[in-house]
Symmetry: C2
Subunit: 227 residues, 2 copies
DNA sequence: TGGTGTATAATTGTATACAAACGATCGTAG
DNA sequence: CTACGATCGTTTGTATACAATTATACACCA
């Protein structure tokens, strides 16, 4: 141990082995996607047996998924009285935006200095923007949303603050659901790329003040256009 | 329905029926307490069978607890390769503090206006401060920590931002663990009450700027005195 | 001697089965 | 007719059991 280590390390960017996520994680994602797409409705009661059947799994991994979502505030459960999907009214969207601003401003503040030191890290953002534009041009809004969240997740990752990343994962699920309830058209598709590119450029420049302003605008834009 | 409603409503402050938390929640709390007290060590591998035995329950609720803690970043798990307790080095404590400042400043900003409108809400904080001082006078640090976290949770609750409250619950577990690794003595006990009373007074006055400063100092104080 | 392949043990992932608690419905007494 | 109480069905909480994957140790071959 120690001799054959540098044989080919760092030959590829990351070479990440995405170990297939557990059934519980898959179920949690499926439920969130279901809420986002409107198949599952806010306030709806979730019966474990039914859901397990829908997702072709037994109750055990499904319950694990519900526990995850409960910890993240997506569903609310009262012991021995069942689980319901949380409500997503205008107030809550407001709250989500506020929390997002606070969290992302922190992530930006930390990551900006790192992006300035290591400009190669910007490649990660560029790749995501490209895939976002591709999805937007096809009006595939679910993929656009996922790319959007990936963009901000990448910034949290670069900030090297694991707590911020953890909190973001929770918040991202809420944002994804809000995205799903938005109405979007070709004009929205056209601005997705430029908007994120502007944030990318500000990160590259390291202009802290402008970043804070831009992020706030970027996030609050959502609050205006809801069903 | 409707006639016998006001028979004795509002006779007690809340009269909250704390439905016994599920075994999963109990297990999650127990694990966090174990990390905080040093029984479980950062980086340690958690074998499901062993832990379930220690906590006198089967693997199913224990696994639910691990999923919760994984979503909160307390433990890290690789599918089919087990679960480990996250590391809590100085860097991470730094990250926790930064996230705490961002989150609590948001909570304070929202709750301050409400405390000014409804001063009776301050009673909740006062009660917690009293119990905190009582625990501090006996040097029962675990109870002090719990009261401390309750104090800040109460502020998040009053801010009426459920997302902030959800994120706080996650962060609070990290903070609780950090508290556990602190060394505290009689001098610390003496300042617990006054420190929190100052925050309470600033909330009552609604001085936003002073609040932000005070919160930052209050939180960063921890970073100085660690093992 | 270093590396590769295989067998075994340990651990996690999932499913099934049972027990307990809750809500609702119906019946009965005042 | 109303209020209380019991019974039943549904749903959740938990335990046990089995399947699948992985790590480790050891033998074998270049």
């Amino acid at each position: 141990m120690g001799t054959p280590k540098p044989l080919e390390a760092a030959s590829l960017p990351t070479l990440s082995m995405t170990r297939s996520p557990s059934l519980a994680e898959q179920a949690a994602d499926a439920i969130v996607t279901g809420i986002s797409s409107g198949v599952l409705k806010p306030g709806q009661r979730l019966v474990e047996t039914e859901l397990a059947g829908m997702l072709h799994m037994s109750r055990v991994p499904l319950r694990e998924a519900l526990k995850i979502l409960e910890a993240q505030g997506i569903v609310e459960s009262i012991p021995r009285r069942g689980t319901r999907i949380a409500h997503f009214n205008d107030d809550r969207v407001d709250q989500i935006c506020k929390a997002r601003i606070a969290l992302e401003q922190l992530a930006m503040a930390t990551s900006a200095s790192r992006y300035k030191r290591e400009p190669s890290l910007l490649d990660g953002l560029d790749r995501i923007i490209v895939s976002m534009e591709r999805a937007a041009s096809r009006l595939e809004w679910i993929d656009v949303s996922k790319a959007d969240l990936s963009f901000h997740r990448e910034i949290c990752r670069v900030s090297e603050n694991s707590i911020v990343l953890t909190l973001w994962e929770t918040l991202a699920r809420h944002v994804f659901i809000v995205f799903g309830h938005e109405i979007r058209d070709e004009r929205d598709a056209a601005i997705m790329g430029p908007h994120h590119r502007k944030i990318r450029d500000l990160l590259a420049a390291g202009n802290a003040h402008a970043l804070n302003d831009e992020i706030e605008r970027h996030i609050l834009r959502l609050r205006l256009k809801r069903k």
